[in-house]
């Protein structure tokens, strides 16, 4: 079922994902949840910085930049790929 699941760090720029798992612990987990990185919520990959890190994501109507350290541990299923 979650075979299409990818880490946010690997998702394509411009794509949208529905979050499935947040594999980060402690205070950072809390922070991510507070920012809207909640399973079931939709995230759009806005833009990578020239060096590839951090990446800007749009979540709950706000743009938030995450480093690979976090984005590689947040997983979601790309939207609009049912036919692919």
């Amino acid at each position: 079922m979650s075979n299409k699941e990818v880490a946010l760090s690997e998702a394509e720029t411009g794509s949208r994902l529905v979050l499935s798992r947040i594999e980060v612990d402690g205070g950072m987990r809390r922070r991510l949840l507070d920012l809207g990185f909640v399973p079931g919520n939709e995230v759009e990959v806005i833009q990578r910085s020239p060096l590839g890190d951090p990446t800007a994501f749009r979540v709950s109507n706000t743009t938030i930049a995450l480093r690979r350290e976090e984005s590689s541990r947040i997983f979601g299923e790309p939207e609009g790929e049912e036919l692919a």
């Binding site: 809390r30 922070r31 507070d34 920012l35 809207g36 709950s60 109507n61 706000t62």
Partner: protein
């Protein structure tokens, strides 16, 4: 003259300082980027024979991540115990904003929820069912536009009613499932015997279960200062200005 202390809490960029300025005639920094208010500003306004001491808290998405601004906002609400807290929400981004609103509702029942930027929401075709909002949250809710001074009188009327005790809201209690509720039940009597009823017992129990070291440190410091009033002038605790980052 009655004086009530009123805290303005909310996410960054929701118009807290705009509201603060329009009520107090002060010039707290406002602008269209996040995190402008890093100091906690205080200012007075007098309306209809009542004085309100307004406290403009830094904007935060949460009160639990233990950054300096979040701790400042949290400590103010818990330890300074304002007569009313206004939670300012962005009408165009309610889903995100409600996270903080629910956190504040767990800390105090003396709350008025203020949905700001209603003019922007109207432009976007967003309609907000205030009655459902009130029912679901259990506290007064008003829609305003701080920039255009719309709805501010109605807001301050509710604030006065809550601050004076004339209106006693009953925020909806969030429940956390059997296991956590059981542990809260075990902790609450201990919290009460250690702290009395000065602080919201259920909320403190929840923070302890969450392993909130920052809160624990703040609590210990307050208890210590209270036990030893001669060790400095903190017997009467003033809220210090707090910088972040």
């Amino acid at each position: 003259m009655n004086t009530y202390t009123v805290a303005l809490a909310g996410n960054p960029n929701t118009g807290k300082s705009t509201l603060f300025n329009s009520l107090t005639g002060m010039r707290q920094h406002t602008g269209n980027w996040a995190g402008k208010t890093v100091l906690t500003a205080e200012g007075d306004c007098v309306r209809g024979g009542t004085r309100f001491r307004l406290v403009d808290l830094p904007g935060t998405y949460s009160l639990y991540s233990n950054s300096a601004d979040e701790e400042a906002a949290r400590d103010y609400i818990i330890f300074e115990n304002p007569d009313c807290a206004i939670v300012v929400l962005d009408a165009t981004s309610l889903e995100r904003n409600l996270n903080l609103a629910l956190q504040v509702l767990e800390m105090t029942s003396r709350v008025v929820v203020c949905i700001n930027l209603i003019d922007e929401a109207e432009k976007l075709g967003i309609r907000i069912d205030l009655q459902t909002f009130r029912q679901r949250l259990g506290v007064p809710v008003v829609a305003i536009s701080a920039r255009h001074n719309r709805g501010v009188d109605a807001l301050m009327e509710l604030v006065e009613q809550v601050a004076s005790g004339q209106l006693a809201p009953h925020p909806t209690v969030l429940t956390y499932g059997d296991e956590i509720e059981h542990k809260i039940g075990e902790l609450e009597p201990l919290v009460r015997s250690a702290l009395g009823t000065r602080y919201p017992t259920r909320w403190v129990a929840l923070r302890l279960l969450d392993g909130d070291e920052g809160l624990l440190a703040s609590l210990k410091k307050r208890l210590h200062d209270r036990a030893m009033p001669q060790s400095g002038k903190e017997g009467e605790i003033r809220y210090e200005r707090t910088a972040c980052h």
